[in-house]
């Protein structure tokens, strides 16, 4: 294998990746060495391997965090281990953890002429012949024989083979690499941290075959450059750390709904004759209780399993206090003002930090935030979203290439833009229909018609016109959604939409909440691995987050407008909170705070997803929608599923 070939591996390919392949992958160039861990993944789920390896997606859940802690312990060098000569090598259930301590006391001289047994930790070996590279936690060396030990979180499963196939394949790969380097290696051990059991795994012919087949399969998938489809209704997804990125059931539903496909060819797992998947039962990987089977809903739609969290339960920190100073104190952020502590927030409980105007943030605090992947957003004092600080851009190059390819495809841009505008019009119509004191049938009908027209628009320019007309109709009716009480004050009423600067209180509030929303969509889009500046409907200019603004269209009425309505109708914010100046109206500091709190409450509210049927918070919806848009761009699903309430 040459170095150019291994360099090609660093450039992943995708369905839109004619562009990529032409540039980098020579035809037939095999991917470089396959890491043993990826052989584990490809045996567990091909899509998981693709996401982790080709798209460099990674996400922690409790299992990965625990797994890392177990490995950390394994990698810590300890004094040379002297194996007990009275004990035969590798008997079952030898407790490795206990052994380390026991052995320290023993001081028997090893038999002469053979080197003393010892333990090597964190061994990294590769075999170009096999095409495998393996990081091995522990290698026990005794006489001429070596035994690799792979540490695993959790308990030893009760299966005759001692462990499930993916783990055994990974271990087998380590054995094969060791053998290829000339070591005598008969078996490998899996050490299960939860019950401290060390389980010897037989390296038999079928396992070697499965391992070599996994190498071939992993390379083939990478070369193919198309993400494998999600598993169907699989219990494996329950414990998968990438489930919120993969969205298995969501993607399957949208794929099935979009086109009738011939049945997929048998997966790698199904091809392994000696390993009958069916026999594994409901929860073969011991990942915990299954979610109850989805109940069919009344309207006949099926409710999907919601495998990812319904809401992000960490909380945002907003700092608006002018002259405040945000510093790091241990594991907490501390907001101070003139040597007075204003408030504290635990880093572990913080989802994002938003700073308005003249607020200082120390380098230590910024670094701690970035290390934990907590985004920091900056706003002008007036609430204009200026920018953000994030640790690293997503490493999913495949997705970004697909986004750029899609943005230069006018037909796709138009198709996406039609959907965004139509959803915005329909969602504002729904808000009007539900909240208007006396719904204006003419306006509602007009919005309906404009929504239909949006879907037929021939070019972006006419779409802009349709959107503008719909906005005039909608905002013309906006005051009808206010309570009698609020409407008494004429100065509060909306006189059409105006901005930069807003000329009346309602416009000021709308601008402010749109700004918060564009911040959250920017963060959602970035989290999904997309470039926020490159949009499909909004054209990139002045560095505005065009893609975030695209996705924002359907959420403007649902989130921002409804927050403003709620704040006014419930008298959280009123006339008293505004001062008129020559340049427009200014909102008081308390109104800004109360509006931000109301906005956050809205984001935290659970809503039924119109397509998937499960309950999910608005904040999580933004991320799910951004990820689904990503799946459209890579060609996995054909239509962007809009978020529309009924």
């Amino acid at each position: 294998m040459t170095s150019t070939e291994s360099a090609a591996l660093a450039e992943p390919a995708g369905p839109h990746a004619k562009y990529l392949r032409r540039r980098s992958l020579e035809p037939g160039a095999p991917p470089a060495l396959v890491p043993a861990r990826m052989l584990n993944e490809v045996t567990y789920c091909e899509r998981l391997m693709y996401l982790e390896w080709v798209q460099s997606e990674f996400e922690d859940n409790e299992f990965t965090v625990e797994g890392r802690a177990v490995h950390r312990r394994a990698d810590q060098p300890r004094p040379l281990k002297k194996a007990d000569p009275k004990r035969p090598p590798g008997p079952p259930d030898r407790a490795a953890a206990d052994q380390g301590e026991e052995d320290e006391g023993e001081d028997e001289a090893p038999p002469p002429s053979t080197p003393p047994p010892y333990t090597a930790r964190a061994v990294w070996l590769s075999s170009e012949r096999l095409g495998i590279t393996a990081k091995i936690d522990v290698v026990d060396v005794e006489g001429g024989t070596v035994v690799p030990v792979e540490y695993k979180r959790g308990k030893r499963p009760s299966v005759p083979e001692g462990a499930y196939l993916p783990e055994r394949v990974q271990l087998c790969a380590q054995v094969l690499v060791l053998r290829d380097h000339g070591f005598r290696c008969e078996e490998g051990h899996l050490y299960f941290a939860a019950d401290r059991q060390r389980v010897p795994i037989a390296i038999d012919e079928p396992l070697v075959e499965a391992t070599l087949a996994a190498v071939v399969r992993a390379r083939a998938l990478v070369e193919l450059g198309a993400i494998p489809p999600p598993l169907a209704d699989s219990p494996k997804c329950n414990g998968c750390s990438l489930v919120a990125i993969c969205l298995p059931d969501e993607v399957n539903l949208l794929r099935d709904g979009a086109r009738e496909e011939p049945p997929a060819p048998p997966t790698f797992m199904e091809q392994l004759e000696h390993h009958d998947v069916e026999e594994l039962g409901d929860d073969p990987w011991g990942l915990g209780p299954l979610q109850p089977a989805p109940e069919p809903r009344e309207d006949g739609d099926r409710e999907l399993r919601r495998l990812h969290p319904a809401r992000d339960d960490r909380v945002p920190l907003y700092v608006k206090e002018q002259g405040a100073y945000v510093g790091l104190k241990g594991e907490r952020l501390e907001v101070r003002r003139k040597d007075q502590r204003v408030v504290e927030a635990r880093l572990s409980n913080t989802s994002q930090v938003c700073l308005f105007g003249n607020v200082q943030l120390t380098t230590q605090a910024l670094r701690a935030l970035l290390e934990r992947g907590i985004p920091v957003s900056f706003f002008s004092l007036g609430g204009w979203f200026i920018g953000r600080a994030v640790a690293h851009d997503s490493r999913n190059v495949e997705l970004r290439v697909a986004q750029h390819a899609a943005a230069s495809d006018p037909a796709l841009c138009l198709r996406l833009a039609r959907g965004f505008v139509q959803s915005k019009i329909l969602n504002s119509r729904t808000l009007l229909r539900r909240n208007s004191r006396e719904p204006n049938a003419v306006a509602l009908g007009e919005l309906n018609q404009l929504a239909r027209k949006a879907l037929e628009a021939e070019e972006l320019a006419s779409l802009l016109g349709i959107e503008g007309t719909a906005a005039r109709t909608y905002f013309g009716q906006f005051n009808s959604m206010l309570t009698e009480r609020a409407r008494v004050d004429e100065q509060l009423l909306l006189a059409g939409r105006n901005r930069r600067p807003p000329r009346d209180p309602l416009n000021a509030m709308l601008s402010y909440t749109y700004s918060l929303l564009s911040k959250d969509l920017t963060l959602a889009v970035v989290t999904a691995g997309l470039d926020p500046l490159l949009g499909f409907y909004h054209q990139p200019r002045f560095g505005r987050p065009a893609l975030a603004l695209d996705l924002m269209e359907e959420f403007r009425p649902l989130i921002a407008d409804s927050v403003v309505l709620g704040a006014v109708n419930n008298e959280i914010v009123g006339r008293r909170d505004f001062v008129e100046t020559a340049a427009g109206v200014n909102m008081s500091a308390t109104a800004r705070r109360d509006l931000a709190l109301a906005y956050e409450r809205r984001m935290d509210q659970l809503v039924t997803h119109p397509i998937f049927g499960y309950r999910i918070s608005y904040r999580r919806v933004l991320e799910v929608q951004a990820r689904l848009l990503g799946r459209v761009l890579t060609g996995e699903i054909t239509e962007y599923p809009p978020f529309r309430t009924r």
């Binding site: 625990e66 206090e321 594991e331 572990s348 705070r593």
Partner: protein, 96 residues
Amino acid sequence: MRQTYIVAYDICDPKRLRKVFKLMRGWGDHLQLSVFQCELNPRELVELRAGLGQLLHHDEDQVLFVNVGPVEGRGATSITALGRPYTHPERHAIVA
């Protein structure tokens, strides 16, 4: 789902005690001497336990975890106090 935990520790060495206290401050509210109230999801519980595991002397020190129940259920209602008032932590955006 987030659960409320009462975490109580008994650490035999003052230097380790300070480290444990500092770590605990990052995960919960200090209720009493050596007692914290933490609201943790499964992943955070693993992280906290792993962090503590690296600080403790496993033969001398001890940390107890008492699961009081889900944050939006028993976890919020089952703690009451005598003497100094106890306020239940609220989960909403912090605006300063």
